[in-house]
Structure formats: structure tokens, C-alpha cells
């Protein structure tokens, strides 16, 4: 039960319950005719309804937002505070849009529904579609862009290492090739005569080959994940929840793109570290002296600590353009539909 569940699932339900009877209920009790007959225009009525529901929601949401901002200012360091604050402001704006979508859709349905009961049922159905459709999208994503299980993935990586990528360049052949290349390069006959430590070169070489294998395998896997995620976002065409979830996770820095960003910078750091160690073996020792001169603590102290630089808010926005677009389209469609329904809205209740 996170803040996201409340904001994404429960608040829309509250909006629906507050707004489903806005027009349909007034029509049934006959007050709609009265209100319109005293000179209130239909758009005025709609604005009033929107303000009324917003006020009721604001009573809960405004204090919550202030608390959120306070928690943010207490928890973040000064360096990242500006970035975090802009992320928070964007998040607030996105949720306002999301609520506005539900509000306009609810008012639209209430205006065109033959009865308030019908309006409520249609709106509850719409709300549950928001819960169901993302699951369908997740499974469709798994079907269209299949990902290997951990077992298969490990087996594939091991195979690539053993037999070479695409089975062209097996492990033993790679070692032999490297040896011949080094012997030629330094113009000597045995590895003992090499000015560098062959172990170190071989380690680095195998490391780099491993990097290639992992880059390829993880690249495939992550591309599949990203395709799956895009399909989920596309479910936002019918379910705004999917779009707002993508945007919200991205702004909170807890989505896949942010994880990938972190994983890649950690990997860069690891590669740097491994290369430094292997180079130490290669250039500070020889194949015959069992790494005698290799430095220990002194070397480690030269290596900088890993410092993660989180991406700027623009990164979050940029990676979720599609979801932002969908939310904007929903909002526009909601207002457009509401305007259309206001014109068409009948004042007289029909027997249903």
C-alpha cells in the first residue's frame, strides 16, 4: 500500500463516487431543470461541478502534497534538492492531469447516462479496466517479446563463453590466438620471454570477451524488457492508469530506465577497476615471477570510490514522452467529450 496505489487507484474511485451523480442525479431529482432555468449556463454548471469535486479532493491532497514536499526537503541533500524538487513539481502536475482525466470522464458519463445508476456502473467498469488492462498488456508483452528464464540465460552466457559468440570462436582457440599475437608483437618465442605478464593479458582479454558476451546477452534482454514496458505504456490508450504509472515511476526514479542508468554506471566502474588490476599484473610483473611486484593496498588507495550521479529530471521526461503524450491526449479528449456532452445533455430524466 504505497502512495502510488492511493493516488493511482483509490483517488480515481473517490472521484468517480463524487462525480457520477453530478448531472444524472440532478436530472433524476429534477433540480437540473431548475438550475438551468434560473440562468446558469451549462458550461458554468460544469465548472461549478469541477470546482466542487476539486475542493473536496483538495482537502485531502493539498496537505498530503505539502507533507510530501516537506519530507523531500528534509531527506535530500542540498546538491540534489533542486533536481528532486523539480521532479516533485512535475509529479504533482502529472497527478493533477490524471485526476482531471477521471473527473472529466466521470462528468461526461454522468451527463450522457440515462440514469445515475447507469453512470456509476459504466464508470466502475472504466475504473476496473484500468486495473485489468495493464495485466493483459504485461502478458501480451511477454508473449510478443519473450525473455529467457534465469536457467536459459545462464546456459546461453556459458555457451557463448565456451564456444564463442555465435559459436565461431571457442575458448581454447581464443587463448591460442592471443598467445601467438603477443609472441609476434614482442618478437619472442615463449611466453616466459615476454616483457609483460601473459596471465594479466589473458585475464584482461577474457574479461573483455566476457564484456562482449554480457553486453550482447543483457542487451537483448533489456531491449525485450523495454519493448514490454512500451507495450504496457501503450495500454494507456485505453487505461490512463498505465500511462500515469509509467510517468510516476520515471519521475520517482524507480523505473526501469533509471535502474538501467545505475547498472550501466556501476558496470563502467567495475570495468575500470578490473582493468586497473589486470594492467597491474600485466605491466608490473612477468610470467615467471608469480606477480611478485604487484602492489596491494597502495594500488587500491589510488582507485576512486564509486559515486553515482543520478540522471537529470529531463532524462525522466525524455524517456517517457509516449506516456506524457497519452496523458495529454486523454485530458484533451476528456474536456472535449465533456463539452460535447454538455451541449447534448438532456434535462428530462428518461425512464430506464
Amino acid at each position: 500500500l504505497t502512495a502510488a496505489t492511493v493516488l493511482q487507484i483509490l483517488i480515481p474511485l473517490v472521484i468517480i463516487l463524487l462525480a457520477f451523480a453530478a448531472f444524472a442525479g440532478e436530472r433524476e431529482s429534477g433540480t437540473l431543470r431548475q438550475v438551468l432555468s434560473v440562468g446558469a449556463s451549462r458550461p458554468q454548471l460544469a465548472v461549478g461541478k469541477i470546482l466542487g469535486v476539486s475542493l473536496a479532493l483538495g482537502l485531502i491532497l493539498v496537505p498530503a502534497a505539502i507533507l510530501g514536499a516537506a519530507a523531500l526537503s528534509l531527506s535530500s541533500e542540498t546538491a540534489s534538492f533542486a533536481a528532486n524538487l523539480s521532479r516533485f513539481a512535475l509529479l504533482v502536475a502529472v497527478y493533477l492531469v490524471y485526476f482531471a482525466i477521471f473527473l472529466t470522464v466521470s462528468l461526461f458519463v454522468s451527463a450522457v447516462a440515462p440514469s445515475s445508476r447507469f453512470a456509476l456502473i459504466v464508470l466502475l467498469a472504466f475504473w476496473s479496466v484500468n486495473l485489468i488492462l495493464p495485466r493483459v498488456a504485461a502478458d501480451a508483452g511477454k508473449a510478443f517479446y519473450p525473455t529467457p528464464s534465469a536457467l536459459e540465460f545462464r546456459a546461453a552466457v556459458a555457451r557463448d563463453m565456451r564456444e564463442g559468440i555465435d559459436g565461431h570462436n571457442p575458448y581454447d582457440a581464443r587463448g591460442e590466438e592471443l598467445k601467438q599475437k603477443l609472441l609476434r608483437q614482442y618478437n619472442v618465442k615463449t611466453i616466459e620471454e615476454l616483457p609483460v605478464n601473459f596471465e594479466g593479458v589473458a585475464l584482461q582479454e577474457s574479461e573483455e570477451y566476457g564484456n562482449l558476451v554480457y553486453e550482447r546477452r543483457y542487451g537483448d534482454l533489456w531491449t525485450a524488457y523495454e519493448n514490454q514496458n512500451r507495450l504496457h505504456t501503450l495500454a494507456g490508450i485505453f487505461a490512463p492508469l498505465a500511462a500515469v504509472r509509467a510517468v510516476s515511476m520515471s519521475l520517482a526514479g524507480s523505473d526501469w530506465q533509471h535502474h538501467r542508468h545505475f547498472a550501466e554506471s556501476a558496470e563502467q566502474y567495475r570495468r575500470m577497476l578490473v582493468k586497473r588490476m589486470n594492467d597491474e599484473v600485466t605491466y608490473n610483473s612477468h610470467s615467471r615471477d608469480y606477480e611478485k611486484n604487484v602492489r596491494g593496498r597502495e594500488l587500491y588507495e589510488q582507485i576512486p570510490d564509486f559515486r553515482y550521479q543520478p540522471p537529470a529530471p529531463a532524462f525522466a521526461v525524455g524517456s517517457q514522452i509516449l506516456a506524457f503524450g497519452l496523458l495529454g491526449a486523454w485530458l484533451a479528449a476528456g474536456f472535449f467529450a465533456l463539452g460535447w456532452a454538455l451541449k447534448k445533455m438532456s434535462v428530462e430524466a428518461k425512464d430506464f
Binding site: R117, L120, I121, S128, I132, A138, G141, E152, H259
Partner: protein
């Protein structure tokens, strides 16, 4: 006239030729003071005698009638109306009348409210009319079609996921088997002298095999797995067991897109647990409220229809409309996607679905009986659904992580790293080992001479020994947390149903934990087999290949599963004991 009120019982006689039994029909009429159309009640008492055995049925009936009447009035039967002139619950009065007669007469008069023939007939009539009505306004058709399609798609989806898993497992096991067979052939060839033993990875040397020959312990998806994907995305369905220490395979994790884990899967369990209640609410939020709002409820009740038979008739019609297509889809799915011995599981699944649906129909009936408007009912039902399906399960999981925390995996990894550092004294470890197993000590072996396979194995076993308490602590904590979740599951029918479906599908924590425990056993056997050979430095023979331990998952029978599930409702400790005894 009985004391304290007006009571008139008009006794009619009904013949039932098929059963040949007599019935006495009561009608209680409203007192002059009371208002309202439905203040009268019907009842039927089964006199329990057989017309065919009496010579003069008519006089016999007259006789019984008189008895019954006398019994009713003589025994100070309470007025069917209370002091304000409202009718007491008719059934209570009828039951009391029946009991009075019963006490005084040799023959039996039954006036059971529920199985009363008159009420049952009325129930059937309402049921039939309701079905017709639902059919006419397309509600039934649309709901039935939707739930049928959803259930079938979900089952297909689940089956698809597990087909891929089973295929991948089979592939990898076949690959492994192939390399095993090759090694066995090599061993035979070397024994026959056709081939020279390689210096590295000699198939007749246990010490090298143990290191370089990992075996896969795989958990095959159960025959009923398609019903619920459950925890498949989280727990590994395989472990690669080798001569390395335990932590090397204990830490195995499944790989999955985190977004998919967040959202969950679209499987049969989801359709039942999440969607079925929504469908139930959609068709029954206005059971009585709808009739009341259109004014027909008053008319119906004025004709002597009981609220109870009306409600049950309507509910039964809706249950048939929703459950029949659901079960049709489930039967089709089980026939197409199910494995062996799947029908008993299906029966348990069906029973769980019926109970779960009954709970939600009950909630719908309860909300309807409160007598609010149908829009209010719909909102109330949505709120109850959110509370029981979304909020309570989340709260249970949050409480479980707070009250029964599981130590971080990182701690376990750190412990195994520390152990690795501490264990780097192979000579001492080997000395200790041979002190315990003197019969295995190879003659004339100098332990101080570096021998990689020996040293490596000794170090791995020492790491195992050192991290064993950590691993055990972790496993116990995980099991305690799951126990907590299962016990707290009674707070939400959704949680309970999901657990049951996971168990039946073999995708819940219990089966994965059993798999894990069995893998540990297998690991011990695996290590022991090679250790006995390698530390004593006895050469392997090709025949030994057939004696090597292999992993095969021992499945819990469906009976054991059902018993374990039922035990959750019994004492908590019993449940715990039972589960561990199953695993051991």
C-alpha cells in the same frame, strides 16, 4: 384464538401423488391493527403419513388436521404478531407450530423453512423467471461471454507460460544428460584401454568430476500449473548443484522484468480472485434495490413471496449465469492444458471457486438487504472489494515483513565471503576430515603437498559448515514469514483463495520451499558421493556413473495438499509441524 394476539390458521390439504404424503398448509392472517401488504405468511407442514396406507384418506386428513389445530392452540402458541402488530418472522412461528405438533403426536410434522416444499417451488419459479429476465436484457449473455472469454484466455496464457518453462527445462536437462552420457562413454573407453585418460577433467577421477560436473535440480511445472502463475516469477525452478559451497546455488534467483512483477499476471486465479467478484457485483448490486426502485418488490411480497426465496432465487440465477461459463472454460482448459492426475485438483479448485463466489454473493445479498438505493449499493460493494481484495492483502504483506522480517540476502553472501577467507587452511581441514574418517585416508599421501582438487573440496565443505547456521536462519525466517501470511490469510478471502489456487497449481511458496529443501538433501547426497570417492582417492569406475545421485522432485499428493490446507484452519502449530514433516 391464542393468547396475546390474533392467530388464524386456515388449514388446507395438498396431495402429492408422487410421494403420497399429506401436507397441511397454514395461512396466518394479519391482525386488524397492522399495516403493510406483506404481513401475512404461508407455511406448509409435512404430516409425514402416507395416503396409500389409509383406507379412508379424507377422514384421516380431517383427523390429522384437528390434531394439528388442537396442538397449536392448546400449547399456548405465541401470536405471530408482536405488540406493535408487526408480523414476527413467519418461519419462527411455523417452526414452533411444527415442533409443538411433533411433541404431541406420534407422526412427524416437519415445517422446515428452508426445504419447505412450497418455498422451494417458489424459489424454483423465481429462479426460472430471473434466468429468463437476465437473458432478455442481455446482461446474462454479455457477462457469461465475458467471463468465459476471460477465463479461457487466462488459462491459455498460464499454460503458455509454463509450456515455455517446461521446454526450456527439458532442453537444458537434455544437454546436461548428453554431456553426462559422453563422460560415461569416455570412462568406459578409458577402462577398455581405447583412450588415454586426459590430465584435466579425467572422467575416472572423482575429485575432478565433482568440481567440474554441476548437475541441475529442476522443478517441473505441475499438471495444474496453468491455473495460477503464482510465485513462479520470483522463486527459481532450478538449482545448479555442484561441488561448490551451498551459497553458490542457494542464491539463485529467477529473472523477470520488474514491471511485470509489479503488475502481476493475467491467469485463471486472477480472473477468479479479482474479476469474479466484480462480475458478481455488476449483476447483483440491484438485486432487491432494483425491484424496490421500480415498485415491483411490494407487489411480489404482497403475493406471499418470501424475501428469502426471492433473494435466493435471484442469487442462484446469477450464480448459474456466472459460474457455468467459468467452469466450462476451466474444464476445457483442464482437458487441453492439464497434465496427469489433474481432475482431483480440478475438483478442489471448483470447490474453492464455489465457496469464494458464495462469499461474494453473500456480501452482495447483505448489502442489498440494507435497503439502500442501487447506486449506493454499487459504491458500497466497490469499497468492500477494494478493502478485501486490494488493501487487506497488501497490509498483511506489509505486516508480515515488519513482524517477521527476513534477513537480507546480502548478509548471507557477506557471510559466505567471510567464511571463504576463514576457510583457507586446507591442510588443517583435511587433517580434521581424516581424523573423523580414518578409513578414507589414502595411504602415503602428504597433505602438505599442494593438490588443488583436495584443497578446493576441503575449503568448500568448511564454508558450508560455517554458513550453515546463517542459511538455516534465513530459511527459518522466510518460512516464519510465509506462515504468518498464510495464517493472516483468513482476513481476506482473496488472499485465501489465491493461496489455495497457488497450492493447487504448485506455484505457491510451499512447493518452491519443498523443492529447495529437497535440493539441499540432493546436494548433501551429491557431495557425500563424490567425497567418499575423492578424499579416499579411489578411482571411479564407469559403473559408478549409474550410481551417481540424481535429482527427482517428490511431489506432494493431492490428498496431503488438501489436508495441509485444511490444517491451516486448525491449530497453527499443527500446520507448522505437518509442513516440515512433509518436507523431511
Amino acid at each position: 384464538v391464542a393468547r396475546g394476539g390474533i392467530f388464524r390458521a386456515r388449514l388446507g390439504v395438498k396431495k402429492d401423488e408422487r410421494r403420497g404424503k399429506g401436507f397441511l398448509e397454514f395461512q396466518m392472517q394479519k391482525p386488524a391493527r397492522s399495516k403493510g401488504a406483506n404481513d401475512c405468511g404461508f407455511g406448509i407442514a409435512d404430516c409425514g403419513f402416507d395416503f396409500r396406507q389409509t383406507t379412508n384418506p379424507k377422514s384421516e386428513i380431517q383427523n390429522r388436521k384437528a390434531h394439528l389445530l388442537r396442538a397449536c392452540f392448546r400449547n399456548k402458541c405465541r401470536s405471530p404478531h408482536d405488540s406493535r402488530g408487526r408480523v414476527r418472522q413467519q418461519t419462527t412461528t411455523l417452526l414452533r407450530a411444527g415442533a409443538l405438533v411433533n411433541k404431541n403426536r406420534p407422526y412427524c410434522v416437519r415445517a422446515s423453512a428452508f426445504f419447505n416444499r412450497f418455498i422451494f417451488k417458489m424459489f424454483l419459479k423465481i429462479f426460472k423467471h430471473e434466468l429468463r429476465r437476465l437473458w432478455r436484457d442481455y446482461t446474462a449473455g454479455i457477462a457469461a461471454l465475458l467471463i468465459f472469454a476471460a477465463a479461457l484466455a487466462a488459462a491459455y496464457n498460464g499454460a503458455h507460460a509454463f509450456r515455455a518453462q517446461a521446454a526450456a527445462q527439458a532442453n537444458i536437462l537434455a544437454e546436461e544428460n548428453e554431456s553426462f552420457e559422453k563422460m560415461k562413454r569416455d570412462a568406459q573407453a578409458i577402462e577398455a584401454g581405447e583412450k588415454k585418460a586426459p590430465p584435466f577433467g579425467n572422467p575416472l577421477k572423482a575429485s575432478s568430476l565433482k568440481l567440474f560436473y554441476p548437475r541441475t535440480a529442476a522443478l517441473p511445472p505441475s499438471g495444474f500449473a496453468f491455473a495460477s502463475v503464482g510465485q513462479t516469477d520470483v522463486y527459481p525452478s532450478f538449482y545448479k548443484v555442484s561441488g561448490r559451497h551451498r551459497e553458490a546455488f542457494v542464491g539463485t534467483q529467477e529473472m523477470e522484468n520488474p514491471l511485470n512483477l509489479l503488475i502481476g499476471r493475467f491467469d485463471l486465479a486472477f480472473v477468479v480472485v479479482y474479476l469474479l467478484p466484480l462480475f458478481i457485483f455488476a449483476v447483483s448490486y440491484n438485486l432487491l434495490a432494483g425491484e424496490r426502485e421500480s415498485g415491483t418488490l411490494r407487489l411480489l411480497l404482497a403475493q406471499g413471496v418470501k424475501v428469502r426465496s426471492l433473494l435466493f432465487g435471484k442469487l442462484a440465477a446469477r450464480a448459474v449465469v456466472l459460474l457455468a461459463p467459468l467452469f466450462l472454460a476451466a474444464v476445457l482448459a483442464t482437458a487441453f492444458f492439464g497434465g496427469a492426475d489433474v481432475w482431483l485438483k480440478f475438483a478442489l479448485f471448483a470447490a474453492a471457486v464455489v465457496l469464494y463466489a458464495a462469499f461474494w454473493f453473500g456480501i452482495a445479498a447483505l448489502v442489498n438487504l440494507y435497503g439502500s438505493a442501487s447506486a449506493t449499493n454499487a459504491a458500497a460493494l466497490a469499497a468492500i472489494w477494494i478493502a478485501l481484495v486490494l488493501i487487506v492483502p497488501t497490509l498483511v504483506h506489509l505486516t508480515a515483513t515488519a513482524a517477521r522480517p527476513v534477513p537480507s540476502r546480502l548478509e548471507l553472501i557477506a557471510a559466505s565471503r567471510d567464511a571463504q577467507v576463514r576457510a583457507r587452511r586446507p591442510v588443517e581441514l583435511l587433517e580434521n576430515y581424516y581424523a573423523k574418517h580414518p578409513e578414507r585416508r589414502p595411504a602415503g599421501k602428504d597433505l602438505r603437498v599442494y593438490d588443488f582438487p583436495f584443497y578446493y573440496a576441503a575449503i568448500q565443505r568448511e564454508i558450508d559448515r560455517q554458513i550453515a547456521p546463517e542459511v538455516e536462519r534465513y530459511d527459518r525466517a522466510l518460512e516464519a514469514q510465509q506462515d504468518f501470511v498464510q495464517t493472516a490469510g483468513v482476513l481476506s478471502p482473496a488472499l485465501l483463495a489465491q493461496e489455495i489456487f497457488n497450492d493447487l497449481a504448485g506455484t505457491g511458496f510451499n512447493r518452491y520451499q519443498a523443492f529447495y529443501r529437497q535440493t539441499l538433501e540432493f546436494y548433501n547426497a551429491h557431495v557425500e558421493f563424490y567425497e567418499a570417492k575423492s578424499f579416499s582417492d579411489t578411482p571411479l569406475q564407469s559403473a559408478d556413473y549409474d550410481r551417481m545421485p540424481r535429482f527427482a522432485f517428490r511431489e506432494e499428493t493431492t490428498g496431503e495438499l488438501a489436508a495441509r490446507r485444511l490444517a491451516i484452519f486448525a491449530a497453527h502449530d499443527f500446520n507448522r509441524r505437518r509442513r516440515f514433516s512433509n518436507l523431511a
